[in-house]
């Protein structure tokens, strides 16, 4: 027992603030639900949050289909979370996952449709590849701009998100619009769809996502490239001194980030949606930021954070049907989790957690991104 505790201690010390943030978010959201219940037709109900959370849990894990839905919703968030997370490791805040996701989804949809009649073993991998490469190319742009001109990636990626949505709308309307539909969309992907492994919708993309978690973890922890990425993120001056090329690493990391975001779009396209249409939302893009922060940019942390967010998505319908608690409660919980992570002092107070000796580089990247005058480490004082 004690040995176990000792072995888990380092993991727990990293995970405790995120875990407590989740607990606290659920608690605060429960209060919101109770208070707002007084203004609904069913009337004041102090037990409503318990019923709602119970159905949320049952919807996400209470049946085989529920678990499948959770995994299906979690898979693109794993890719997206990794995309944001690897950026944060290098000190980059890639807000452009939304745009890279769309570009990847579009490329996968078009390639998949073109190969709709080809065998799955041909069409699916090529469509995945197209999605990943398109995302990588779209991630390379802000990476290159940052490396060459110093243009801040937060600004450029926000712009590129809009550009992606508009460009793809035009592309669907004027280049690849499929005939026979009442609204503009791409053609069916046919055989290029990700094979269903089990049940109704448990597709192969989930295996890809989990594999990606371990590949990225391996790259970050075990390879020289990962060491370079982490060093550039932790201390760019030291990285330069050590003979690394921060400019190159920056551009490369954004490209890898875009690749992962593009793959998120590709599996969502080939595993779930099946066609690209203007108006497709990329909530994955923004949820990915939350997933990466909740997972502390650690691939394993991201795996669990994505599963949690996936469970929210999978469990929400049952919660709505059976308790009439609106889905916005999920938004509230998700927002609160991030709020408590950012303001971890609150969490530490409530749960009496001691502050870490090492500051969290990732959160500093995110919060630091908003001030133009943030000095590089070591120049202060």
């Amino acid at each position: 027992m004690r040995r176990w505790r000792a072995r888990l201690a380092p993991t727990w010390s990293k995970a405790q603030v995120p875990v407590y943030s989740i607990v606290l978010a659920f608690a605060v959201a429960a209060v919101v639900v109770i208070v707002s219940s007084a203004f609904t037709a069913s009337g004041f109900d102090p037990l409503l949050p318990f019923a709602a959370y119970a159905r949320l849990f049952a919807g996400a894990f209470g049946s085989g289909n529920g678990v499948a839905n959770t995994l299906v919703a979690a898979a693109p968030l794993m890719f997206g979370g990794l995309a944001v997370g690897i950026g944060l490791k290098a000190g980059l805040f890639n807000i452009g996952v939304a745009g890279q996701f769309l570009v990847g989804a579009f490329a996968a949809a078009v390639t998949g449709a073109a190969l709709a009649a080809a065998p799955t073993i041909v069409g699916m991998p090529l469509a995945m590849l197209a999605g990943g490469l398109a995302g990588a190319a779209y991630g390379f742009i802000p990476g290159y701009l940052k490396a060459r001109t110093g243009a801040h990636e937060v600004v450029t990626t926000i712009m590129l998100n809009n550009a992606a949505a508009l460009l793809l709308t035009w592309a669907v309307n004027d280049l690849v619009r499929a005939p026979g539909f009442s609204f503009p969309r791409t053609a069916d992907i046919g055989q290029s769809a990700l094979p269903i492994l089990a049940g109704r919708n448990l597709h192969l993309g989930i295996a890809f996502a989990v594999a990606a978690v371990f590949v990225i973890r391996w790259i970050l922890v075990r390879t020289t490239l990962g060491f370079e990425i982490r060093t550039v993120g932790a201390n760019p001056s030291a990285a330069r001194y050590a003979g690394m090329r921060p400019i190159f690493i920056t551009a490369l990391t954004m490209t890898i980030s875009g690749l992962l975001a593009g793959l998120a779009g590709a599996i969502q396209m080939l595993g779930v949606i099946g066609f690209y249409a203007p108006g497709i939302t990329a909530s994955v893009g923004f949820d990915s930021i939350a997933v990466a922060l909740l997972g502390r940019s650690d691939p394993i942390g991201i795996l669990f954070a994505a599963l949690l967010f996936g469970a929210f998505r999978a469990g929400a319908p049952l919660m709505q049907i059976e308790t009439s608690v609106p889905i916005e409660v999920i938004d509230i919980i998700q927002a609160l989790v991030i709020l408590f992570l950012a303001a971890d002092l609150i969490v530490r107070r409530v749960f009496r957690v001691r502050a870490p000796k090492i500051e969290i580089v990732e959160l500093a990247t995110v919060t630091g991104s908003w001030g133009a005058g943030t000095p590089p480490p070591g120049t202060a004082g």
Binding site: T224, N235, S237, A238, R240, A242, G243, E359, G373
Partner: protein, 512 residues
């Protein structure tokens, strides 16, 4: 006992940290009125803990604090301030974007009708106070436009403004140039005249002997002695501090210079503000020779070093290693050719503070065999990295509870030893060391100096830059003086008199 009356007494102060470290072990300290009392000790001796107890930041396990003879309980900084204790931390606590006046009044704002900030009154008072202390500062200037020395004076101003009668300065000279140090000493003497009592924390022997009325030495949490400057000397204080006899003289021995290894010709380069800071530098360093660059900070030494190691691109001129032009080589390429570099700012360049020690020990060699291998050198090899880290930590006496701690948890001396251990390899040809001992205690300084000389004797060409003229004079076989981006003089070690070199540093001309 002091011949003056005591304003502050600390009796039997004991503090045990979780894990059993005894940071303070029954420390007694007494501060007289109008006294500058130096607290001397190595890094980690317990000086800062003791002062944090006085300032209410740490609660002692045992002991008593008396102010003006009355026992007091200090619960926090607010208490301490209310009792007339002011503290200037090692790392300044100023808000960079606020003005001097705003920083000084922060938390003690003067408000007029309806809570409106009355900055004009505050600025007037600050100006008066500064004049009384013997320096001028424009209260409207933003703090981030001030030099470190000026910022420190603002910190002092802030403490005095809040009515401090007892002023604690934690390593106030660590980040200052010699001139700034001299200026701050002037301020401290004025304060003493005005009736302020001062605790001055340091590990620099010269400074302590110059400024203090009394010196208390702490080692491993205990008071090991108290002296008046007139009754002691550097050697005795160093021995008290370290616990053994320390050689403060560097035994340089005889050098045996060989062929020219490093050659710099007509080097010109811009600084970060795009001014031409290097205006044609020529120098060479022979194998088995230490060449020291003396100069007042900001005359191009840092940029010269950066050009030599590949971090800065020169506009003109050439750098050669054993006759081979390396001007266009990358940092990594030069390192492969045998150039090592100990940067001036170890926290910014030399280390990645959140990394554990093994990663820091191989920071500049992470891509080399055997630390990387497999898949074309792509995979890091943990065991060789750990082995090397263990070996270096032992050889260079890096004191850490284990290898698996972040570099940020080490003391400054141990951090520097990590950098030195990593860079001082045996297969070197050129060793560039910039401020190798800045902020270190005497034990670490002695150790690092020995290592530099050992490398020289092994045939390495050493280029040394230091703001401490004594260090340059003690270590170098040849001394070059740098002034406004040029080398303005060369001295053989035997001919280099302190005054001559100092004059050349200050004026760029050698008048007789």
């Amino acid at each position: 006992m002091s011949d003056k009356t005591s304003v502050l007494e600390m009796r039997g102060i004991t503090k045990r940290f979780p894990g059993g470290t005894l940071a303070n072990d029954a420390i007694d300290l007494e501060l007289g009125e109008r006294e500058i009392h130096a607290l001397l000790g190595e890094n980690g001796a317990g000086k800062t803990t003791l002062m944090n107890i006085l300032y209410g930041l740490v609660t002692p396990d045992e002991g008593e604090i008396r102010i003006d003879g009355t026992p007091v309980a200090i619960q926090g900084p607010a208490d301490a301030i209310a009792r007339g204790i002011g503290m200037v931390h090692q790392h300044f606590m100023l808000v960079p974007v606020l003005s001097v006046a705003e920083n000084v009044v922060l938390g003690q704002e003067i408000t007029g009708v309806g809570g409106v900030l009355d900055m004009r009154t505050a600025e007037r008072r600050i100006r008066e106070l500064a004049e009384r202390l013997g320096f001028s500062v424009d209260p409207g200037t933003r703090v981030n436009q001030l030099s470190l020395g000026q910022q420190q004076r603002v910190e002092i101003l802030k403490a005095i403004y809040r009515g401090a009668r007892i002023l604690v300065l934690d390593e106030p000279t660590a980040v200052l140039t010699p001139q700034e140090t001299r200026e701050i000493f002037g301020v401290l003497r004025r304060l003493r005249q005005d009736g302020t009592s001062i605790i001055f924390i340091s590990h620099k022997l010269d400074e302590v002997l110059e400024i203090a009325d009394r010196i208390t030495v702490i080692r491993r949490g205990k008071v090991v002695g108290s002296r008046k400057p007139a009754q002691t000397n550097k050697d005795e204080l160093a021995e008290l501090m370290v616990g053994r006899a320390v050689s403060l003289r560097v035994d340089r021995g005889q050098s045996h210079p060989g062929d020219v290894t490093l050659e710099v010709v007509g080097l010109r380069a811009l600084d970060d503000r795009r001014h031409e800071i290097l205006q044609g530098v020529d120098l060479n360093v022979r194998a088995g020779e230490i060449v020291g660059i003396a100069g007042v900070g900001g005359n191009g030494q840092d940029e010269l070093v950066e050009c030599v190691v590949g971090l800065r691109k020169p506009n003109a001129g050439a750098i050669r290693l054993a006759g081979r032009d390396i001007t266009r080589q990358s940092v990594e390429g030069r390192r492969d050719l045998g150039i090592a570099y100990v940067p001036a700012d170890r926290q910014r360049f030399g280390l990645v503070l959140p990394y554990l020690l093994p990663d820091n020990f191989v920071l500049t060699r992470y891509g080399e065999v055997p630390y990387a291998g497999g898949l074309g050198g792509f995979v890091r090899q943990d065991q060789p990295i750990r082995n090397e880290a263990g070996r270096l930590a032992k050889e260079f006496d890096v004191r850490a509870s284990s290898l698996d701690v972040a570099a940020s948890t080490l003391s400054g001396g141990n951090q520097q030893k990590v950098v030195v251990a990593r860079e001082f390899r045996h297969d070197l040809r050129v060793l560039v060391v910039d401020q190798p001992t800045r902020g270190l205690d005497v034990g670490s300084i002695e150790f690092i100096h020995k290592q530099v000389i050992e490398r020289r004797d092994a045939g390495v060409a050493v280029l040394l830059v230091s703001a401490e003229l004594d260090e340059v004079l003690d270590l170098s076989d040849r001394i070059l003086v740098m002034y406004r981006g040029r080398i303005v003089g060369t001295f053989a070690a035997a001919e280099a008199q302190r005054e001559k070199v100092g004059l050349l540093m200050a004026t760029g001309e050698a008048r007789t």
